[in-house]
């Protein structure tokens, strides 16, 4: 192959990504090594999480020094993570699609129609697009505050049969709100870029405007939609503070309904790290590293799944 310096240099730049990931994963594996040996498979199948008595003297278990009574089972957090992210995606995708379609297709026409009546009307699209982008930077603590001030009481009063608003549903909705801007803005950008010819030929075939959107345009932006969803999913899986504030912090139990308290892996790591640091044996922090490793594997699996679902779709450009 001919030497192409430019291609080589961008390849090298892109190799930073696997390098960084490898460094983090190697670190996690090395750091959690003792925990992996201590926990075995029980780590994944157990639902009891107990840091043990950090104020009692450590004990030797299977040749490893651990706090007395320590037991690390994370099934409940795995379930909580998958459930909250899945529900968040289920809520966010239709909302984002509707929002992006309306902004890119209906609003320009509404504007054109209304401008003759209201010539001073500000441009709606950029303002709304800006709002959507602005939300991406609202700190997650603020989402959490909004969650406990508005969303949780709402769920408690109107939806939850027990009157308690904290839990799986609250966490999912907050996550959905946080990721909707990501999906909506990538989709919106893609819809704006669909070539005129595609739209017009669909119109020419007698399709209604809505059919043009759903039958001709959406299939063309499937790749971008999928990419946006995967990005959003990554964000949802890794979100900590907002989830911590509204999820009800379920521990030692599997969620049984939308209103069960849950913990997600990422939020649980944050909530336990401080206590774990006062463990003289360091096993607590190692167990948390092992959880992070599991989250990494979940992310890997989710991405692999998404890739299978859209296999071939990543090379969609050929069809344009």
């Amino acid at each position: 192959m001919k030497l192409r310096p430019f291609r080589l240099s961008v390849l090298i730049l892109s190799l930073f990504i696997p390098a960084a990931l490898a460094a983090v994963v190697l670190f996690l594996v090395a750091y959690s090594g003792q925990a992996i040996i201590f926990n075995g498979l029980h780590f994944i199948t157990g639902i009891t999480w107990n840091l043990g008595d950090l104020y009692d003297n450590p004990v030797m278990v299977r040749g490893i020094q651990v706090p007395a009574g320590a037991e690390y089972g994370i099934l409940a957090f795995v379930v909580g993570t998958l459930a909250s992210s899945a529900i968040a995606i289920l809520i966010a995708v239709p909302l984002s699609a509707g929002t992006a379609i309306f902004l890119s297709e209906a609003v320009p026409e509404l504007e054109r129609a209304s401008r003759s009546v209201l010539p001073w009307l500000p441009p709606i699209r950029p303002v709304l697009a800006m709002l959507v982008e602005l939300v991406a930077v609202v700190p997650s603590v603020v989402f959490g505050l909004w969650g406990i001030a508005v969303l949780v009481p709402f769920i408690g009063h109107y939806i939850s049969p027990t009157g308690n608003g904290y839990g799986l549903l609250a966490a999912s909705i907050v996550l959905a709100l946080m990721i909707t801007p990501i999906i909506a803005s990538t989709l919106y950008d893609a819809l704006c870029q669909v070539p005129k010819e595609n739209r017009e030929s669909a119109f020419a075939l007698g399709a209604t405007h809505f059919e043009v959107v759903t039958k001709a345009m959406i299939p063309m932006v499937r790749t971008t939609l999928m990419g946006g969803v995967v990005l959003a999913l990554g964000r949802a899986l890794g979100e900590t503070m907002a989830v911590l504030m509204v999820s009800g912090g379920g521990i030692n139990m599997l969620p049984t309904s939308l209103f069960s308290p849950i913990s997600t892996i990422a939020s649980f790591i944050v909530s336990q790290l401080d206590s774990a640091e006062s463990d003289p044996t360091n096993m607590s922090v190692r167990a948390l590293s092992e959880i992070a490793l599991v989250l990494f594997l979940i992310t890997l699996a989710v991405n692999a799944g998404a890739k299978l679902l859209s296999s071939g779709a990543f090379n969609v450009r050929k069809r344009q």
Binding site: L51, L54, Y55, D56, N164, L244, N252, E277
Partner: protein
């Protein structure tokens, strides 16, 4: 692209601002990190102290007691703030680390029961609630502690902290010291392996606890005393707790100092002792020393001297009521202060 131009202007602007701040470099810089309960007090202390000692600058941070302990051990900060003393094992692993009490704090048990203005609770009752053995407010155990009170036939919602917290530490100590079933299984610590209780929920931070209790009628929660104002503003009740002497007491300056004076003479030289569930007749049962975790063998002797000076000031001038009342803390009793000063002097 124009981005690079933007960045270049930004860096130029930065160079100017940072040049202006280089003057700080000559002063002694100390860092404190850890307990969120001690944080407000440090924020009152530092401006008062640095006003008199302009050559010292002290950064305060609220990161959690465990972080305070870990980072002071790793010498990332000079002062770690903790609501809990170091465990025996920790002292064995890190013999140079000191647990130095700076002030006395306490915790309230709050409830959200419409129409009930006074409620008596005990360690065994709270342990039963948080373990899921006592599920309704009109449970015989609660009724027995509250004669004449019309307790509702409603499920109790126990609320706990999801983040690691000194509040969880002293709350679980109260349960562990007063209830055998809790003490033998769940022990005490800054994080607890909370039993699965139907309806129970977790909240983040003390403000999260206040909001969660407000959002959940028939709830019960443990909340640090510094949040007494917010709790009162939210119209939440404050429970009287059963102490070791068998009396129900509310947290007041008198009952809290009764608790601290009851251990004043038994506090060991390393001052690692709990003030939870102490014997005084009117002693409030959930009280604790707030600690500075400091390495007694510092590498930088100048830093050691600066830490000594600041901590000495903190337990003398800093223990004045003008500081303490603002955060609902109490000063150290004299005999404890003597021990504390001795520990501070050993920082080298």
């Amino acid at each position: 692209m124009k981005l690079s131009k933007l960045l270049r202007t930004g860096i130029a602007a930065l160079a100017i601002t940072t040049g202006a701040t280089a003057a700080h470099a000559s002063t002694m810089r100390l860092s404190e990190t850890g307990s969120s309960l001690l944080y407000p007090l440090f924020n009152l202390w530092v401006p008062a102290y640095t006003a008199k000692n302009p050559d010292v600058s002290i950064t305060t941070a609220s990161t959690g007691s465990g972080t305070g302990i870990a980072q002071s051990i790793k010498n990332l900060v000079q002062i770690g703030a903790s609501d809990a003393y170091l465990s025996d094992a920790m002292v064995k692993f890190h013999p140079a680390m000191l647990s130095i009490p700076l002030a006395i704090s306490s915790q309230a048990i709050n409830y959200n029961l419409p129409g009930i203005s006074h409620l008596n609770l005990s360690g065994p009752i709270l342990a039963g609630i948080y373990m899921g053995k006592i599920t309704k407010w009109n449970d015989p155990a609660i009724a027995a502690a509250n004669p004449g009170v019309a307790l509702p036939d409603h499920v109790i919602i126990p609320i706990h902290r999801v983040d690691g917290s000194g509040d969880t530490f002293i709350f679980s100590q109260y349960l562990a010291f007063s209830d055998k079933a809790w003490g033998n299984t769940l022990h005490y610590g800054t994080s607890i392996s909370w039993p699965a209780v139907a309806g129970g929920i977790g909240a983040n931070g003390n403000p999260g606890m206040v909001t969660a209790l407000q959002n959940n009628p028939y709830g019960v929660a443990y909340i640090g005393i510094s949040f007494a104002k917010q709790v009162a503003a939210a119209h939440l009740g404050q429970a009287a707790l059963l102490n070791k002497a068998g009396n129900y007491v509310l947290p007041t300056p008198e009952t809290i100092s009764d608790a601290s004076s009851s251990v004043a003479n038994t506090t060991p030289p390393d001052e690692r002792i709990s003030i939870v569930f102490t014997p005084g007749t009117n002693a409030y049962p959930i009280v604790n020393y707030e600690y500075a975790i400091v390495n007694s063998k510092m590498t930088n002797k100048k830093e050691a001297a600066a830490v000594r000076d600041f901590l000495t000031w903190a337990v003398n001038d800093g223990n004045a009521m003008s500081f303490m009342t603002q955060v609902h803390f109490l000063p150290l009793p004299d005999s404890v202060k003597a021990l504390t000063l001795k520990q501070i002097d050993s920082i080298k």
